[in-house]
């Protein structure tokens, strides 16, 4: 054998050995999740980015967590009681819960986190604007006093997405409004933060001192058992590569797969399809502050009357399994499902739309529709609707920008008449962005103002549901937003994985067969 050939043989053997060792390392307990992209900072209290929430959910925990029916159940909380007509909330914490830095969770940590969330948290103001005090009234007891009762308080603190995750007191106080730095990613979750390599992965590892709840696991609630030693969240922006990666065994799980692959993947034995149990829905926001649609409800109804939502859903999401032309803001089977006003959801009557527009005084002025191409579904829906509106004589001028530009422009009321976005599943109407008067769109008519107070201040579920029915009817009358329809996202996983979470990617309790 020549020396060159010997060298080549040794190199091949070395590569084969490395490949074998790598394969063994994978088998030793690292779950590899192909995510849609690089996350923003994992300070999930500040951001609503889903890609950060998926990772953050493993590291940080909330006082309550949603079960598979999206009912809040205690997580770090042990019990609670409400006094003073709903204006005082006292939460008792579980004892013996440890942070990843070894310190025990106490009410002081919760109080500091709650104060920061109220000031800077993405969803903090929904609850904390009415807070008069937050106090640790015992080592394991926190007392929140409100100026008015809030019937949705438990739901508002039951998710990590822009939510009240509990940080150690010193970290919460030191961080202020700046995103917490990676070295301070200290939570109480079943996995602890290890490393973040830009564009390579975020790695978390099993927290050996994690103390799971004793209840059976259900959605995000109940016992959380870390079966894998490590989880790597790997940004893989191309959907085709995510799918091929699971098929090739390079990834165990891949998120957010496109609708056009659904039929083929459903029959593919090398993957298992995991469809979300909670739909997202597209929203077209009307500008209630400025412009042609400001308070012209008849013109808004004319626009909605012209539309066939099924057509847009078919173009945007593909197979029928992945969408539902549902007019109720909340899907069937949930406590908030309502048929109030849904006749106006998708009439697809261009003639009537034309008449309504004429009655509304519309003379063909271009309606500026702000949409981003970063989300293909947004663009598809906008394109279909623009065509349908043209058939009804309504002139839409699409303004296509990237997502970062849209986020800025939509805050400038003079720039647009309609903008396109989508909304994740919400277990309570208070969490819907368009109910919030300060969210771009700025729906704050006297009618919704009154109903909003009624919805928030009541703790009685039946009364709140009756109020929600009235709000949904008002949505179809004043059309602050148009719901496109429900869309079910789906992921793919290795067939070997069991125990996948019905609420979305959460990998505690997940193991291999």
């Amino acid at each position: 054998m020549t020396s060159g050939l010997r060298l080549l043989t040794r190199a091949a053997a070395a590569i084969a050995t490395v490949m074998f060792l790598n394969a063994q390392a994978g088998a030793a307990g690292t779950l590899r999740d192909a995510t849609i992209g690089e996350p923003p900072p994992l300070d999930v209290m500040l951001t609503t980015a889903d890609v950060a929430s998926v990772i953050g959910r493993h590291i940080f925990e909330t006082l309550y967590a949603w079960d598979s029916t999206y009912t809040p159940q205690p997580l770090l909380a042990d019990s609670d009681r409400v006094e003073d007509g709903g204006k005082t909330i006292i939460i008792k914490l579980r004892e013996g819960v440890l942070f990843h830095n070894g310190k025990e969770l106490t009410a002081k940590d919760v109080a500091a986190s709650m104060v920061r969330w109220g000031k800077f948290g993405a969803r903090g103001k929904l609850l904390m604007d009415a807070a008069t005090s937050v106090e640790a009234t015992g080592k394991y007891e926190i007392t929140l006093k409100l100026s008015a009762p809030n019937g949705a308080w438990k739901n508002l603190i039951a998710d990590v997405n822009g939510g009240l995750v509990i940080y150690p007191e010193d970290i919460a106080e030191k961080a202020g409004n700046k995103p917490i730095e990676p070295k301070d990613y200290i939570g109480t979750g079943p996995y602890k933060f290890v490393d973040w390599r830009p564009n390579r992965y975020v790695e978390v590892e099993k927290f050996d001192k994690y103390k799971p709840r004793t209840e059976k696991s259900d959605g995000y609630a109940g016992a959380r058992i870390a079966e894998f030693d490590k989880i790597r969240f790997i940004p893989v922006p191309d959907v085709g590569t995510r799918v091929s990666g699971v098929q090739a065994g390079d990834y165990d799980y891949a998120e957010m797969i496109s609708g056009d692959l659904y039929d083929n993947l459903s029959k593919d034995k090398s993957v298992q399809v995991h469809r979300s149990n909670a739909p997202i829905f597209g929203l077209f926001f009307m500008n209630s502050k400025e412009g042609i649609l400001k308070d012209n409800y008849k013109l808004r109804r004319a626009i909605q009357t012209a539309l066939d939502k099924s057509q847009a859903l078919r173009v945007a999401f593909g197979p029928k399994d992945l969408w539902s032309a549902e007019g109720s803001i909340f899907p069937k089977g949930t406590a908030w499902y309502s048929t109030a006003g849904v006749d106006g959801y998708s009439p697809h009557d261009p003639t009537k739309a034309r008449e309504l527009a004429k009655e509304a005084g519309y003379t063909g002025t271009p309606i500026r529709l702000l949409v981003s191409t970063n989300y293909q579904a947004h663009y598809d829906e906008a394109s279909v609707f623009t065509r349908q509106l043209a058939d009804a004589g309504i002139n839409v001028q699409m303004m296509v920008v990237d997502w970062a530009t849209l986020l800025k422009m939509r805050g400038q009321a003079e720039q647009w008449d309609i903008f396109v976005t989508h909304h994740g599943f919400s277990p309570d109407p208070v969490l819907l962005t368009f109910i919030n008067a300060s969210y771009p769109g700025w729906w704050d008519s006297p009618e919704i103002k009154a109903l909003r107070v009624e919805l928030v201040n009541s703790s009685d579920q039946a009364a709140r549901k009756a109020t929600w029915d009235k709000i949904q009817a008002l949505i179809y009358e004043q059309v602050p937003v148009m719901k496109v329809g429900d869309a079910y996202t789906y992921d793919v996983a290795s067939p070997k994985l069991t125990g996948l979470n019905p609420n979305g990617p959460a990998f505690w309790n997940v193991s291999t067969k």
Partner: protein, 314 residues
């Protein structure tokens, strides 16, 4: 030679200053804002303004530029808004992937482009030449994402010979991790090898018509020696010039390939940073790419003299 090198270095520095102004102005002029992307869609105006102030983005643009240049001169390119890490370390991490990818791609380009280009030129007008030129045109025309996805489908998903995507650093897992770059480098090499192939062929045909080639043949030198010693060596001058551009371009051109193969390279980093308006990272990367371009071209210019002593540098 030395005065030429000094002059070229001076021009390089001026170009760098101009580039830094253009890059900074360009990225701050385009609409959008990192704060909105960072905080998400429920952020209130107060929260947005607070964080903007905290990150120094509310200062006049000239002040921001001067601060950036001041820090850059001392080797600090700032701190990434999204990665929460020094820009230099983010770039260094991406540079490893991009440099290795570009180097391996260049190896493929040379191994495929030059020999086949030589064969096509030597067999000029034959069916072999026609076939090779046609194949080169096809490779240059097919989009890289298509080539990449099919390579993944065949060699990773179906045959399982190579990894489908990603690249763990060789500093983490040794040289064996280079296998992650085989499919991406082949993808990226396809259009560039086709370009070099056609360039080699055309350049060789030009040189083969020169008088000294005819004289060499008349002297009875063996045909392959004429090709190797007289035609190829002179034809390579043009090809080597193209190498400089190709190598530098690969670093920034690899965006699609890096996205398809989920490689943590510079190309993907810059696109992602533009989409998120991570100003310090965009500025830092473009500055580094400009420096690489300028340096590579400087080296190529100086290399002319080594390859052909007749070239006078002025």
């Amino acid at each position: 030679m030395w005065s030429y090198a000094l002059k070229r270095t001076g021009t390089t520095a001026l170009t760098l200053v101009a580039a830094s102004i253009v890059v900074f102005a360009f990225i701050h002029v385009i609409p959008g804002d990192p704060i909105y992307v960072l905080l998400g869609d429920t952020a209130t105006p107060d929260q947005i303004e607070n964080l903007r102030h905290e990150l120094g983005l509310d200062q006049p643009i000239v002040i921001q530029y001067l601060q950036w240049v001041g820090h850059a001169l001392s080797g600090d390119l700032g701190h990434s808004i999204f990665f929460q890490a020094p820009v230099l370390s983010v770039i260094a991490d991406g540079a490893e992937t991009s440099t290795l990818l570009a180097t391996i791609t260049m190896v493929w380009v040379v191994l495929i482009g030059i020999p086949i280009g030589v064969i096509a030129a030597v067999r000029h007008g034959s069916w072999l030449d026609q076939g090779l030129s046609g194949a080169a045109m096809l490779m240059a025309s097919v989009p890289t994402f298509w080539v990449g996805l099919y390579l993944i489908l065949i060699f990773a998903a179906t045959l399982g010979w190579l990894p489908s995507s990603g690249y763990p650093s060789i500093f983490d897992g040794g040289l064996g991790n280079l296998r992650y770059l085989i499919l991406p480098s082949l993808t990226l090499a396809a259009p560039n090898a086709a370009l070099i192939l056609r360039l080699t062929r055309a350049s060789m045909l030009d040189v083969s018509r020169e008088d000294y080639v005819r004289a060499a043949r008349a002297k009875g030198i063996r045909p392959w020696q004429v090709v190797r010693r007289h035609i190829l060596r002179n034809a390579l001058l043009t090809v080597v010039s193209a190498f400089g551009f190709t190598f530098a371009a690969l670093l920034s051109e690899a965006v699609v390939t890096e996205t398809v193969f989920a490689l943590p390279g510079i190309g993907r980093l810059v696109v992602q940073s533009i989409l998120r308006r991570d100003y310090p990272v965009i500025q830092g990367i473009i500055l580094v790419i400009v420096v690489i371009y300028l340096l590579v071209n400087l080296i190529v210019d100086l290399t002319y003299r080594v390859l052909d002593p007749r070239v006078e540098l002025q």
